[in-house]
Each structure stands twice: as C-alpha cells, then as structure tokens.
Amino acid sequence: MESTSRASINFDSNHSITIKEMPYIIHWRDDRCKRCGRCTAVCPSKAIVPSVRVQRVVSSEGAIPTPKAIRKVVHVIEQVNDMERYCTGCAVCSLVCPNEAIFPEFNPQNKFLHYKNKGGDGYKRGGRRNDPSISTLDRIKFTRISMLTDPALDAGRHEFRVRTYLGRIMSPESLPLTVDNDSLIIDKSRDQFIPPVREIYPLMIGSMSVGALSPPMWEGLAMGITYLNEVENMPVVMCSGEGGMPPRLLKSRFLKYFIIQIASGYFGWDEIVHCIPKMVEDPAGIEIKYGQGAKPGDGGLLMAQKVLKLIAGIRGVPMYVDLASPPTHQTKYSIEEAVAKMIQSMSMAWGFRVPVYPKISGTKTARAVLNNLARNPYAAALSIDGEDGGTGAAYNVSMDKMGHPIASNLRDCYLDLVKQGKQNELPLIAAGGVGKKGNLAANAAALIMLGASAVSIGKYIMQATADCLGDEYNRCNLCNTGKCPRGITTQDPRLYRRLDSAKIAERVVEVFKSADVELKKIFAPMGRSTELPIGMSDGLSIDDKAMAERLEINYAC
C-alpha cells in the first residue's frame, strides 16, 4: 500500500519511459503542419495524438515590427510515451501528410525489448528476423566469368532454359527403359511406378495463407502467377499456405498453378477433400508443412479478429475464434512411419499424380530428415525454410533467435545427396531471406549454385508487389495485429480496400519477368543456358575464408 501512495504523488514521472526508449521517434514540424489530422487518423498503433499545449507565441502585426509575446493554447501532434502504443516507424503518417510535416526516425538507442512485455507476455509480431546486416547470400559473388577460353552467352539473344523440376526424379539406373530397334522405349511389362514430375520456374511464391493475407493480396498473387503461366509462358507456381483455397479456384483449371499446403491444423482440408471429385486439374503439388523458418518449432495462429465470414467459410470453422495450429502434426510419432504415411495418403488422394513433399524449417537436423526422404521413393522434394523467412505472427524471440541460416543448411543437404548420388533425385527447395536486400535474382542464383533446385520467396514478393513497409529495423511488422496499414495482412475491409489486386498482379508479373532477365544476366556470363546451374559451386566465391570453407566454395577478396 505504501508504494501505491508513493506512485500517486509521483511528480518526477519516475516510472514513465522517455521518448528515447522508443524504437522510432516522431519528428513533427509545427511550422509545416496544417492540423488536418490525417496522420493521427491513419496511425495503426495510435502512437501519435492531437493534443493541446500552452505556448509562448511571438507575433507582430502592422507595417513596423512590433513583436509581442503572448501565451496561448495551440494544437500540436504528440508522440505517446506508452510502449503499448509505440511508433512502429511505418511512416504512413508521412504518406498521408499533405505538407511533409511529419516523419518517424529509427532510434538505435531504443530499449524497446526491455519494455515490450507488458502483462508478462513476450513481444509478438510479424515480419522476419530483425537483423539488417549483410546476409551470407548477399556476400556471395559470381566469379567464374566465361572469358576468352569459354565464350560467354548473350543474355538477350541466346535461348535460356530457366526451368526446374518439382517431383521425385528416378535414378537413371531405375528407369524402366528398353531398347527396341535402336530406340529407347518404356518397358511397360515392368509395370513400374513413375513418380509425377512438374516442370516449373525455379522461383516460386512460398506459402502464405488466405487468412494471413487479405483477400485482394492473395487474389493479386494468384492472378499474377496465372498471367505468368498463361500469357508469359513462365510456369511459376504458388503455395496456398495453410487454410485452404477458395472453392471456386479449387474447381477451376487454374488449380494446376498452385501447391496446396497441409499443415498441423488441417484448416481448409474438409473443403479441399470434398472438392477433389470436382477438380478438373490436379494441383502442382502438395506441401506438408512441418516447420517454418521464421518460427521453428512453433505452430500457427490466426487471430479471432481475422476469422471473418470468408475465412471461416474456406477454413470450415466458426467465425471469430482463434485458429491455432499446433507446433507439430498430432499424428506424427516418427519420421519413418508418420511422415511416410502422410506422403502416401496425400499421394493417394490424387491417384499418385501429384508431387508431395514436406517443408521444414532450417535446422541442424535437416540432414536426418533429408536422408529419410531420400529413402522414401514417394517423397517429391524437400523444402527448407531458413531463419530469415517471414511470418504473419510469431514471438519475437522465435524470429530473432531460433532457426538456421539457409546457405549452409542447404549446402550440407546438397552435399549429402551428392555423396549418395541422389542430388538429382530429390529436389531441394530453398527459402528464407531470399531478396532480403532486394537482390532477388542474385540470391536465388547463389542458392541454385549451392545446390537448390528451386527457390521460394514470400516477404520479398509482398514488399515488391504491395509495398509492404516491414524491414529488418522492426519497421511496421504489425502483420499479427490485423492492422496492416497497407492492407496486406488484414481481414479488415477498411484496410484491405486500400489494395488493388490488379495492381498487385501486374507487379507480380513485373517482378518475375525482371528476375528472369537478371537470372539470365547471371547465367549467361557463366556460360550456362541449357539447364539450371544446380550445384555449379565453382562459379561462386565469398569474401570470408571461414564461410568459403564451410560452403565449400572459393574465397575471393
């Protein structure tokens, strides 16, 4: 009781935090502000408020300067010093300000994490690992340039086959072939199972669910990849994420451009299973999510406020309830049996015509998973999501401190497959931090040359197509709150109506077409065009000896 009475006479504000503790500090210019109130209205975290202040104002009227000082009440914009209403740095206030009167500035001295634990719960957010340093992928350079001994190709003129395979590829020794009249034919008498294999573009859009994403965002991505397939002849595929897909899309001919994800909550699968008899096309693949790079070992959570009518319908759940996916599949008791059975079941649902593969988060144990899958002839690939992958909602500690960088994780797995001679049989899909600094094609090419058959992107595509504001200085990262100021990760119509799905689709097409040009600009001087340079590690260098040794590539400085 004593302490309470003390607090009540706390004239020195001793238990209040100062603005200097805040991660972003608002700079507001009195002289430019016309008090329209747009900034305070739009601020997603209510970090700024209109306020009044008694102020000494000096003014002069008339032909001869006669300055007079008066004290009067003025209207101002103030930053709130409450950590629950911290400025996220999203800068939407600057976006709407007609007079450039306001902007947030990152405060490197902030003590945000010291205070963002009110109520005894850790800080939760969206986005990805808050580490703005240069990633391993961005340190890799392409140094084996074809010169006089091996003419480089012309990226603009030569024909390039920037394609890869999704699906279990048979070893050459096991192909059911026989020679007939100097020609190879399939030996039907062997009645051998030939796994389904899709030819796809090596850059794919990773799993982001309808639910985590707003309807126009998801729709924009879907329209974009459909256009790429149907008009641009680029077989880009996209993964649904957990939570099903709109039934109309499931029954459409466009389903072949989508990988349907099944995760531990099995959300949406009642609808999907019921749609199977009505499907006119098979999906591109089935991804079984066992882990996510951004939050390894964590389940998913779609908060009640995001579960509106549309989402509830697709997922087959009541509206306005929290949808928690457990950290692990409840049926999973061993990789040898449970994972194999899951792959078998999914394969069986589509008559073994669809590639089925697991996705795991980057981990030191990835090779154990890999080796198990290598022995399972129905496993179509392994997708590994590194620590720099993004998410819609997770604890900050999971995002910042848990997980494995993708570069060495992928390389270890690839070299393990090389040892077994299975590097072409089980495609590796790499993800997590691709395009973190904007170098989409270069990061993707580096991963391919380290051994990836395909590369998956998520955060980059949201940044590039829908202007997602998030970055590695914890800017915005409000995805989990349903208050995404861009309308990307929200189910609130007042927010998502800011997004135009047609514009997103247009940007998806631009992003993939420009990445295609850049990939060719990388592959051409390295002299590779007929196939992807998967595992062509002699073309890579890095400026750090330890990293070079670890990745088994060249060191160059």
């Binding site: 001994t149 072939l177 190879l184 034919i185 399939i186 590097q423 002299g527 065009s529």
Partner: protein, 371 residues
C-alpha cells in the same frame, strides 16, 4: 584451342598421320601436351589382340614397383614395346615409356570379358594410386588392343622424341590431341584422349558444367569415374556410363549431353523415354563450348558438339579412311584426294557416326531421331 585429329581406317596407319594433321592446324603456342590413343593395333601387336596392354610411363623405381605389383596380381608379361627416344630440346625424357602386353592371371583366364574388364580397370587404378603421389608411375590404359601415349610438349616434337616416324607401331583407329592448356595444371593425367574400358574421347573447349557433372559421375559408385584432372575427362565417362552402364544406343550420347527442348522432344518417336532421361540425367547436360571425338569398343567413331557455343569440327574422307578433325586444313593434309563437297560440318543437332573399318558415315539428327 586444343587441336583434335582422329583417323579411322580399314588399313593400318602410322600415328604420325594424325600428328602431322595436328601440326597443320597449329596456331600459336601449343606445348601443353600430346596424347595418342591407338585402337585395333597392327605391327608387332597385331597378333596379340587377346592380351591386355598396359600403357604408361615409369621412373626406374616405379618400374620396379610396377613389376612386383603385376607379378603379385598374377599378370605375366608377354610382350613389350618401348619407343626409341630421340632427345629433343625442351622435352625432358622420363625413365621408361612402355606398352606391355600381359597374359591374364590364371584365375581369370576363363572368366567373362566383363569380369576381365573390371580387373583390368582396377589394376590400372591401383597402379595410378601407387604411383601418383611421387609421379613414379603413370598408367593411362590397360585394355586389349589399345595403346595410349602421352607427354607434355609440342605435339610434333613429342612424336619425333618418341621416334614415331620410324616406328612400326600402327593402328586402324587413332585419336590424337594437341593440348592447349587453359585453366588446369599441365599434368600427364590431364592430357587427352581419356580412356575407360574400351571407350575413349578427346575434346576441345572448356566444359562450363564440369563440377555438377563430375559430382554426378563420382557418386555413381563406380571406381573408374575418378581423376578429373581435366574437365574433359567427364565426356569419356558419360559415354561409358550411358553405353556400358545404362546400355543406351550410342546416339543417345547426344540426347544426354545436349537434351532437346520439350517442344522438340514431342516430335521424336521415343519422346516418352527421352523425357525421362532428360530428367534423370539432367546433371550430365553440358553447355560447351565443346567438340567431342571418340570411339567405342565396337570400333565406331563419332563427333558431337554442344548445342550452342559449338567448337569447330569437320569429318571427311574416302571409303575406308575418314578423318575427324577440329579444322579443315588438318583433313586436307591427311586425305587430300577426297570429295570435299561431301565434307560434313556438324551443327547443333548432329552426331556423326562412322562404322568400324571406316565403311560408312552417318549423320544422326537429334531433331528427327534418325540418320
């Protein structure tokens, strides 16, 4: 650019012929080495066709090791050829250059040829392993009716150094390569032609996709797929792999190293099979620039190129004698009295296959899937 010169003939010819062709093609510095692989031997080896011949180079100490190893392995020396060395400035003579015909160990006499091939290859690899560190033994080939000669230096000078112009050594198929070394060390095991169990190839150009191809071959679990001191050795091993291991007809070599586009595959009668091999053998796809000349154990010779950057190549001759060269002037020198209008300059879809005894030349077109 490395110079390539191969001759296939119904008559025995001297190895000087392809070397002279190399000399005709010479431009600029070219001292990285000469390699010769002779198949279907005449001269003193004509009557020894059933005996495997070990070709190599040894130091005095290496020869002692080799003798004791071969004796211990049960091989009995039947015949030995050594060149009559004529000192040439710039070429440092090594102690022993040899081609030795051996009789199989008693336990192998009645075994199948397949089993014999394996012991021959494993013996060669063991000798290589024993002598590689101190360079006391170089073993290039160990196979019936095959001789391989290699040395570092200018090709014509090496031929003079070995006294090949006066030697009785003859063969019906000879591959010769004048190496212009670029990015790998000048080293005897890096000299073309490369040989494995009856298959031999030589190449010019640089193999851009060397690393993934090497890794794929090395991981096949076959001891012979090793070495790779040159990025061109993989071409020989791919040939061996698709012919001997996978048992594909020879022309699929082209489909493996330069796979067709999907739109092109659908016009082939064997489209179904082609799609599968394109997927399963994806790591063996080359991107050039390369031209490959080689032979098979049956005596077929072939020329094939990558599908884009295309190192030059020409095939021409008369019935009973054809040359496969990297440049036309080499062919002019060796077979001047041919009908030049019938010379073949293979392009991206072509694989030229010459039947044994140089009887017939076929241009197999990959797009059409037929000759």
């Amino acid at each position: 650019m490395c110079r390539l010169s191969a001759i296939t003939s119904s008559e025995y010819i001297s190895p000087m012929e392809p070397v002279i062709a190399l000399e005709t093609m010479k431009e600029g510095h070219d001292g990285s080495g000469l390699g010769l692989t002779l198949k279907d031997l005449g001269g003193e080896f004509e009557k020894l066709k059933q005996y495997p011949i070990l070709s190599g180079i040894c130091s005095t100490k290496g020869m002692e090791t080799l003798d004791s190893f071969m004796k211990k392995s049960g091989f009995k020396l039947k015949h030995q050829w050594s060149p009559k060395i004529k000192p040439v400035k710039g070429i440092q003579a090594r102690d022993f250059y040899f081609a030795r015909a051996y009789d199989y160990p008693a336990s192998y006499k009645h075994k199948s040829f397949e089993e014999k091939e394996d012991i021959l290859m494993n013996t060669r690899l063991s000798l290589r392993k024993i002598g590689e560190k101190d360079q006391s033994i170089f073993a290039f080939s160990f196979f019936p009716d095959i001789i391989t000669i290699k040395e570092v230096g200018d090709p014509l000078e090496i031929a003079e150094f070995f006294g090949l112009q006066k030697d009785t050594l003859k063969a019906k198929i000879i591959l010769a390569q004048g190496r212009q070394n670029t990015n790998y060390a000048i080293y005897l095991y890096a000299c073309h032609p490369f040989f494995i169990q009856g298959y031999s190839t030589m190449t010019n150009g640089e193999n851009t996709a060397f690393v993934p191809i090497k890794e794929f071959l090395s991981s096949r679990g076959f001891a012979g797929y090793m070495g790779y001191n040159s990025d061109s050795e993989v071409f020989t091993h791919i040939l061996h792999y698709i012919r001997k291991k996978l048992k594909y007809p020879l022309h699929y070599y082209k489909d493996v190293i330069t796979p067709l586009k999907d739109s092109e595959i659908q016009n082939r009668k064997d489209a179904e099979a082609l799609r599968l091999i394109k997927q399963s053998l994806r790591p063996l796809c080359i991107d050039g620039p390369n031209m490959v000349i080689g032979f098979t154990p049956e005596g077929y010779c072939f020329m094939v190129q990558d599908s884009k950057k295309l190192r030059p190549g020409i095939v021409g001759g008369v019935k009973g004698k054809y040359g496969l060269m990297s440049e036309e002037c080499g062919l002019d020198k060796i077979i001047p009295n041919r009908d030049r209008s019938k010379d073949i300059f293979p392009m991206k879809y072509d694989m030229i296959i010459i039947s044994p005894d140089a009887k017939e030349v076929k241009v197999w077109n990959q797009l059409q899937g037929q000759a």
